[in-house]
């Protein structure tokens, strides 16, 4: 499934004194199977943007095309579309409402009219994906969980629908390091196995360095840059000017370059850095 965003603009409270232009003429295309990272400062418009991609918010102007078809066109069955494009909200805890964790996760698949055994299979698989012990938590109330556990339930609820496009708004915020790693690995697997298209919003440049094929950089409601992580993280001044940063590997590399060490200017992954530092130590030069 491909998604094309054309001149998308969104104003909240349009026509009132409180009007806020949250998105200003955004255009980009996401190809099937791509992993796109969306980064941007607080209030830059990321959540507003992703809520347009499954039709929850309507553009003030511009279009969102899914496989070439206007998402807000008259003929489109938006309910059906939302099953194919799953969105995990930034504070997904608010979407929880069922009495038990298992029922909450089953809600989507049940609405899709799947048979009971298939629903059960999906619930178990989704819980495993987010590292929530089925035996321990399936019958718990989602409201008697810790913050990070609730977030896992909410992510599992969207995974259980097995959408073709998965959109996640800060999925790893509030997860412990093991949980964060688990979710990222699961996303890598989904992409490799099912060619799921993934759009992930995150403030973690490290997560982006690990997963993204491509980064969209938002600033003040506009698309400030669109490129590969190597291109984007190779521009630390740009990143800092929009309130962001580069991964720590790139920071260490820049600090050493500044002191005269001959390291590549566009290095941003830990593994690359590790190799370079070892060569530097063993052979006296890094590359």
């Amino acid at each position: 499934m491909s998604i094309e965003v054309r001149h998308l603009t969104h104003a909240y409270a349009k026509g009132t004194a409180l009007q806020t232009v949250a998105l200003d003429d955004i255009s980009f295309t996401v190809r099937e199977g791509e992993f796109v990272g969306i980064v941007g400062h607080t209030g830059s418009g990321k959540s507003t943007l992703v809520q347009h991609l499954n039709g929850l918010l309507k553009p003030t102007s511009g279009q969102v095309l899914v496989d070439g078809e206007d998402l807000n066109g008259e003929k489109v069955d938006r309910r059906a579309l939302r099953r194919r494009i799953g969105l995990v909200f930034q504070y997904p805890e608010y979407q929880l409402f069922e009495e038990t964790v298992a029922r909450d996760i089953a809600f989507g698949p049940k609405n899709m009219g799947l048979p009971a055994d298939e629903i059960d299979r999906r619930v178990r698989r989704a819980m495993e994906s987010v590292h929530l012990d089925y035996a321990k938590y399936a019958e718990s109330s989602p409201f008697e969980l810790s913050g990070g556990q609730m977030r896992r339930v909410a992510i599992a609820g969207v995974l259980a629908m097995e959408p073709e496009v998965l959109i996640l708004d800060e999925p790893t915020a509030g997860l412990d390091p093991r949980g964060r790693d688990r979710i990222l690995t699961m996303l890598e697997e989904l992409r490799a196995r099912d060619h799921t298209t993934v759009l992930m919003v995150s403030h973690s440049m490290e997560d982006m360095a690990r997963l993204a094929d491509r980064l969209l950089v938002m600033s003040e409601g506009r698309l400030a840059a669109d490129g590969t992580p190597r291109e984007i993280f190779g521009r630390p001044e740009l990143m800092r000017s929009v309130g962001l940063d580069v991964p720590e590997a790139a920071r260490l590399c820049a600090a050493l370059r500044q002191r005269g060490y001959d390291l590549p200017p566009d290095l941003y992954r830990m593994e690359e850095l590790r190799g370079c530092l070892l060569r530097l130590w063993k052979e006296g030069n890094a590359c």
């Binding site: 409180l18 607080t42 209030g43 959540s47 504070y91 608010y94 260490l252 530092l277 130590w281």
Partner: protein, 285 residues
Amino acid sequence: MEEKQVRIQLEDAAYTYEGASSPALSGASAIVREGEFVAVLGHNGSGKSTLAKLLNALYLPSEGRVVVCGYDTSREEFVWEIRRRAGMIFQNPDNQIVATVVKEDVAFGLENLGVPAEEMYPRVESALASVRMSRYADSAPHQLSGGQKQRVAVAGILAMEPSVLIADEATAMLDPSGRRDVLETIRDLNRNKGITVVWITHFMEEAALADRILVVSDGRIVKEGIPREVFSDVEGMRALHLDVPRMTSLAADLRREGMPLREGILTVDDLVKEVERLCPLKSAI
């Protein structure tokens, strides 16, 4: 040097949620002194938020004792004294927002403290400025972005100028510069005004800046020490579903490959210095 006053004292404290079969926190003992910056780490569901809520008397220990600024939290007549001294930034900012206008929300705590109006206004202004939210003073909190809400929640506690500040993942939804701003603001209060800080986080890099770290696992405090000690045990931390700062982990990998880096590396600066020591530039020799 004379020992600083004890600000927080947990004595074998436990808490069990209603209807739960086992306690969310038990046998917790710890002491935090005036002016300390203590980070709390622990897996999801380990009991960190439960601990935080015991510290400002939102929950009362089902066993043991919790004493904050000299006041036993189980004595109802002290609850007010505790809350005015121990300010808490909640894990989810929506649970903290009470007013319909940002500046009123930030002023809410001050009103409760009985701060006079003429003093209130500048305090609200400066708290909003320190989290870079001045231009949203008249906005509606529920119409803010996730990170903006979190900044407002932080401002509300900063304005109260508590002597003990408990932050439950106060930077979880912030962008990198916002995270730096908030952490710097609070570290500044800690160093220059002697405010005691309990900093709950999932970011190991933040914990590396603390004076001391407490690690919670399955409802128990299982480790305690200065960052260099706690993070020297890479495998131990991973076994607790945690990690060590990235630079610590990189240094450990390089050491395994034979590079004789010193122990205790936590930050980019630490590693830069070690590279300079082990791999001097030819031109510099």
